[in-house]
Symmetry: C2
């Protein structure tokens, strides 16, 4: 008697360490043949028909049309990402399809990159990085504002738009740089929690940790602003001209969450006109369609990288493994390591 | 009666905040006219004749010839740098000329840059930084080793060649990245100090801090090696092929101290052949004569910046102020804020 199999579609080759986890007698696995190329929408639509499980990444759109194309067999969608804006959660919910995702595991990698970009923004990375020009040394050449506390500015304030796990891992990394104060904006539907703030302050030895009533104060007081909020429509362009105009001229802005939170044109203008000193950008509205003539790509004061927040070998291996484990647990009826509540 | 004046020569314009400190009725100040261009050797030789005080920077050679040219009037040399390899200390000593320098004030700025370069080396900065290419997302694109502790590697070891103030400020910054162990090489003429090591370990909550007996162990065990030793001739090319061959294939090397400590050709070969993952380089042997065809400038796995360790506005302002204060204190016979012991 042959084991009955279910069809599993995987939109990317997850590599030699992870793909073998799907080698099971009850699975018929169809995966995108290329390890480096994205599967096309056409490939996905053709192959998803009759799938019971589907593993996708951030650049695959799982909309009503694709879910309809898959048909009633589909029971679990598993995305190798912490965000799920690319997935029609309502459609899945209506059809009783489970959704897995990969939170937490990428926290440290994104916090690492947030610090790298905060440093690169102050250190003129666009002029200084990747090339050693022959130049005449002069006392203030290439100088920008120092991230760490110093004799001119013995206190340092970090501002966070969003104060979840990645923000707090980033804050932890700033402590030995001499940061003394932390401001953050939280979810407006949840009440302020001064007791929690006091706990965080005590944990890190900060002089203060405080949720701001309005964004004005966060913009005005911060030496670095980290945008680390989810890509919620209510936060669309939360960093706009008005916000940037209130920031310190020596401050830097870092966005390692979602491109839609920052108005790219406003930021390019702020950098060009010196409203703020610099920016460190991992995500851009409209990505991956970002070309060399994009205003932020052209801006010398903007250190910009192509959405590599979670791109370390260990973290991506962890995310791919978790995506597979979510799929398997979801299909077997067990508890998924990380399931989106719908 | 006019106040008698002494001649002060300043090899760089120190900017509008610092130059006024030299506006004194007893000083006749001659400074390089350009704020951005280096003064030539010719300018310095012509103007130094009869000087009582001389302020220089790292790229000015204060050798026997220049000291002879200045003549017997010279009483104080003050360099706006922590290193003084460019100055003939023995000549100054023989003539009873005091030498001032600017240690400590740049510690935090250099530690900041050391962390930036360690991150850039792992995150493929040469491929990812400053440009957003259009590319097909794939699970392991742009991935390198993660600096912070992670599910694959829950422990992290930092290795330091030299363990002075900058190394310790860098170590402090690594703690929230999950570093658990520290190895360092110390001055071979001073004995090991396990009690001091235990104090440092306890201060930072590290599992161990230990001075290695030989460099082999440091090369083998470290996830990141920071070169933070003085440019002493005894340390010339201390990082050579033998050292690099013993490092982990996933490790990165960061040099923010002196270019002569690292054999550039050996490092380029190590990167090209995959003996180590990447490098972050602020200093290069032979600088500033480093051109686009230098093996490290050409190497994609090498994040390289043009000796900007101390290049923040606040730190350079502090160094320039300290250089002037050293000069004035030395001439007035008071205690210099930082005088080289000869």
């Amino acid at each position: 008697m042959t084991t009955p199999t279910v069809k599993i579609v995987v939109s990317r080759n997850l590599g030699p360490e992870v793909m073998p986890l799907l080698d099971r007698p009850d699975f018929e696995v169809i995966s995108c043949p290329s390890q480096t190329e994205a599967c096309s929408r056409k490939w996905l639509s053709e192959n998803v028909v009759g799938a019971v499980g589907l593993i996708v990444v951030l650049t695959d759109k799982v909309d009503a049309e694709l879910i309809e194309t898959a048909g009633p067999s589909l029971r679990v969608v598993s995305t190798m990402s912490v965000g799920y804006e690319h997935i029609d959660v309502q459609q899945l919910s209506q059809r009783g399809i489970k959704l897995g995702y990969t939170p937490d595991i990428l926290t440290e990698a994104v916090a690492d990159l947030s610090i790298m970009l905060a440093l690169m923004a102050g250190r003129n990375a666009r002029q200084t990085a990747t090339i050693w020009p022959q130049y005449a040394w002069s006392p203030f050449l290439f100088c920008g504002p120092q991230l760490s506390a110093n004799w001119v500015y013995p206190t340092r304030t970090a501002g966070f738009l969003g104060f979840g796990r990645i923000a707090q891992a980033t804050l932890a990394r700033l402590i030995p740089f001499g940061f003394t104060h932390c401001l953050y904006s939280g979810n407006p539907t949840s009440p302020p929690d001064p007791a929690r703030d006091a706990t965080v302050a005590a944990k890190y030895g900060l002089q203060s940790v405080r949720r701001v009533a309005g964004l004005d104060e966060l913009a005005r007081e911060s030496d670095v602003v980290f945008v680390l909020a989810p890509g919620d429509p209510s936060l669309y362009h939360v960093v706009d001209e008005a916000f940037l105009k209130q920031m310190k001229r020596t401050a830097v802005l870092v966005n390692t969450s979602r491109g839609t939170l920052v108005d790219s044109d406003a930021l390019a203008k702020a950098l060009r006109e010196g409203w703020i000193w610099g920016a460190g950008i991992d995500v851009v509205e409209g990505e991956p369609n970002v070309t060399a003539d994009h205003p932020l790509v052209k801006e010398p004061r903007c250190a910009i990288v192509p959405h590599i927040g979670s791109a370390t070998t260990e973290t991506r291996l962890g995310m791919a493994t978790m995506a597979v484990n979510n799929l398997i647990a979801g299909l077997l009826g067990g508890e998924m390591p990380a399931q989106v509540k719908m």
